[in-house]
């Protein structure tokens, strides 16, 4: 995008990030993928690493992420982005490699790949959008769907007795020695969005410093498949998702703590 010079007396305080392609996205109104994309792009711009970065898109709503970032991109098979990123990073250790994955991709079909990428301490950054549902296929139950949450494949509400419990990936991956940085943030209000951006920046810095695997989980909205308005969707994140997926720093390298807040005790834990 051609930067427009500000009018006399005005200062540009908000513009299109270079790392974000100037194209419309396919995301639904009220979806927070757009915010997450912008945060990643702003971080790449601010770090000055757009030309040294290789992204790996996953399968799900973010399948077309490669169209929206102005960086080199590979498109992985469903769930395999961490394996693909491993292959890229191992032969291009001087590049920054990140995956952008949703909850179905990362926590269900790609559970093995994310766990072992973390275990190996792969020096990659993972941006993990958790919206508790399969968006692209039209609203089926995800590994992170809340107990009682209605989806097209849990029409009576997720019944843990037969459909299991939601997986808390940040808590799980923080247990792995190879993971250097694992935090959960949310995109439901401005304060949380600003915190999310700081965490994304830290996650890339952890990779830059070769400290190990870094993941930022972002609680996200899906008004379309949740069957609510965009505003109600943000409330759902705050009121329903945050208690089930507590925000906080689950693993942070020495000297890089941002919130320093211990994760809140999980309510309604099983």
């Amino acid at each position: 995008m051609i930067p427009r010079p500000p009018e006399p007396g005005f200062t540009t305080v908000y513009q299109h990030p270079d790392a974000l392609a100037d194209v419309p996205t396919h995301y639904c109104p009220g979806c927070t993928h757009g915010i997450a994309h912008r945060l990643v792009a702003e971080v790449l711009d601010e770090m000055g690493v757009r030309e040294e970065t290789i992204g790996v898109a996953s399968v799900g709503c973010s399948v077309f992420a490669y169209n929206y970032f102005d960086v080199d991109f590979a498109q992985a098979a469903h769930g395999r982005a961490p394996a693909m990123a491993t292959g890229i990073k191992r032969v291009s250790p001087d590049k920054l490699v990140f995956t952008y994955q949703g909850d179905g991709d990362l926590a269900s079909i790609g559970a093995a790949e994310i766990l072992h990428a973390a275990a190996r301490g792969e020096k990659i950054t993972v941006v993990f959008l958790n919206n508790a549902i399969y968006g692209m296929t039209g609203g089926q139950m995800a590994p992170t769907t809340l107990a009682g949450q209605k989806t097209t494949s849990s029409p009576l509400g997720r019944d843990p007795a037969s459909q299991g419990y939601p997986l808390r990936m940040s808590e799980l991956l923080a247990q792995v020695d190879g993971a250097a940085y694992v935090v959960r943030r949310s995109l439901h209000d401005v304060v949380q969005i600003r915190r999310a951006k700081k965490a994304i920046r830290t996650a890339f810095e952890v990779q830059q410093q070769g400290l190990g695997f870094a993941m930022v989980e972002l609680l996200s909205s899906c008004p379309t498949n949740w069957g609510v308005t965009p505003s109600e969707a943000l409330d759902f994140i705050a009121k329903e998702m945050v208690p089930a997926f507590p925000l906080g720093d689950y693993k942070v390298p020495e000297g890089m703590a941002e919130t320093r807040r211990r994760p809140a005790k999980t309510e309604g834990g099983h």
Binding site: F69, V71, M84
Partner: protein
């Protein structure tokens, strides 16, 4: 380089290193594990990438990732592991990135066993995973050829931006033979990676490597390009060996270990004055169709010998189109036929020819139990 006694699995791994393989990703599985072990030691010594993946699914997707970076990359496995790799193999074909796979086949289906078999022919030659795609499939019969074809596989994969496969069986992976390794090639410098590779969008527009074409007409156009590429491969890369075909009335068609033991059988049959020779496809894809078509007019009958229940024989029948009787002899489940069994099958076919030419439509599939004792 001097000839030395080399185990097949170690030989192809070292050959890959010398061919400039920069990254290896694999998972242990008998009977190819020595290759992974060799890579585990040698690749880090040389400052190259080695990862023991959590599964064959992850291994092939690591291969896919490294391939998008434009380096020479390989994996190796055995039949059940290769089944797991089919997803990534299809993506690699759909993204047109080069990679090398060595399949040291074992008995199946299912977990099967760890004995030598050739029952991955269909899986590898017919494309395996979803979608219309092909892989170049090379079938060595000796450890030396395993080495040489591994080196060639990297060149072919890069030339056509496709997967090149070495299809060998467990006996070739496990046997030791005198062989000569190639000289060590120097690695391509990082700044000389191919222009299509993902290297970071420095001084150029960003590029994407993907296998998505959402619009059916675009996907079809891509498929048409792929098929054109395969046509070029079929025109340029066919390889086969002819053995004792001069004056032969019967042609054995066999690949890999089956071909090797068929040579022993042919020597015995020739000693009995049976005019038999061998056509050994070295490339299973592209299949030596032209030569086989001509052969069908030169001989009175064809005997296909495989260590499976009859997979390549379908291609032989397809190509020869009933112009010559095609018989089959195979052992399955990891049983390696004895040359004498092949001699028996040749002799039976020869007797039939003497008593009246067998009809193409009366071409029974001979299994081990039906072979005269």
């Amino acid at each position: 380089m001097a000839r030395e006694l080399l185990k097949g699995n170690v030989a192809f791994a070292e050959a890959a290193i010398r061919a400039g393989c920069e990254a290896y990703f694999g998972y242990p599985i008998t009977p190819q594990t020595e290759a992974l072990e060799h890579m585990a030691k040698r690749m880090p010594e040389l400052g190259r990438a080695f990862v023991q993946a959590e599964s064959e699914v992850a291994a092939i997707n690591m291969v896919y990732g490294a391939a998008t970076a434009g380096v020479r990359v390989m994996t190796s496995s055995s039949s059940p592991g290769v089944s797991l790799m089919m997803e990534g193999i299809s993506y690699i074909a759909g993204s047109e990135v080069p990679a090398v796979l060595v399949d040291i086949m074992r008995g199946g289906p299912g977990l099967g066993n760890i004995a030598p078999a050739q029952s991955d022919y269909n899986q590898m030659v017919k494309g395996g995973g979803h979608g219309d795609f092909r892989m170049i499939v090379l079938a060595p019969a000796t450890v030396q050829e395993l080495i040489d074809l591994t080196v060639d596989a990297f060149d072919l994969a890069e030339r056509y931006r496709c997967m090149a496969v070495i299809l060998a069986d467990g006996s070739l992976g496990q046997m030791m033979e005198p062989a000569e390794l190639p000289p060590m090639q120097s690695l391509r410098p990082r700044e000389e990676r191919p222009t299509w590779a993902l290297t970071g969008a420095k001084g150029r527009d960003p590029q994407t490597i993907s296998s998505i074409h959402l619009i059916p007409e675009e996907e079809e156009a891509f498929n048409t390009e792929l098929q054109a590429k395969y046509a070029t491969i079929e025109a340029n890369e066919v390889r086969f060996e002819e053995h004792e075909l001069d004056g032969a009335r019967i042609a054995v068609v066999a690949f890999g270990t089956s071909a090797r033991l068929s040579k022993t059988a042919i020597a015995q049959a020739r000693a009995e004055s049976i005019p038999v020779g061998l056509l050994r496809p070295i490339t299973l894809y592209p299949f030596p169709q032209e030569r086989l078509r001509r052969l069908a007019d030169e001989v009175d009958a064809i005997l296909v010998v495989e260590m499976n229940a009859g997979q390549m024989v379908e291609d032989v029948e397809r190509v020869t189109q009933g112009r010559v009787p095609v018989r089959f002899f195979g052992r399955t489940g990891g049983v390696v036929p004895m040359p004498e069994e092949v001699v028996d099958a040749v002799r039976t076919l020869h007797d039939e020819l003497l008593t009246g030419a067998p009809k193409p439509d009366a071409a029974p599939r001979t299994t081990a139990e039906e072979v005269p004792a």
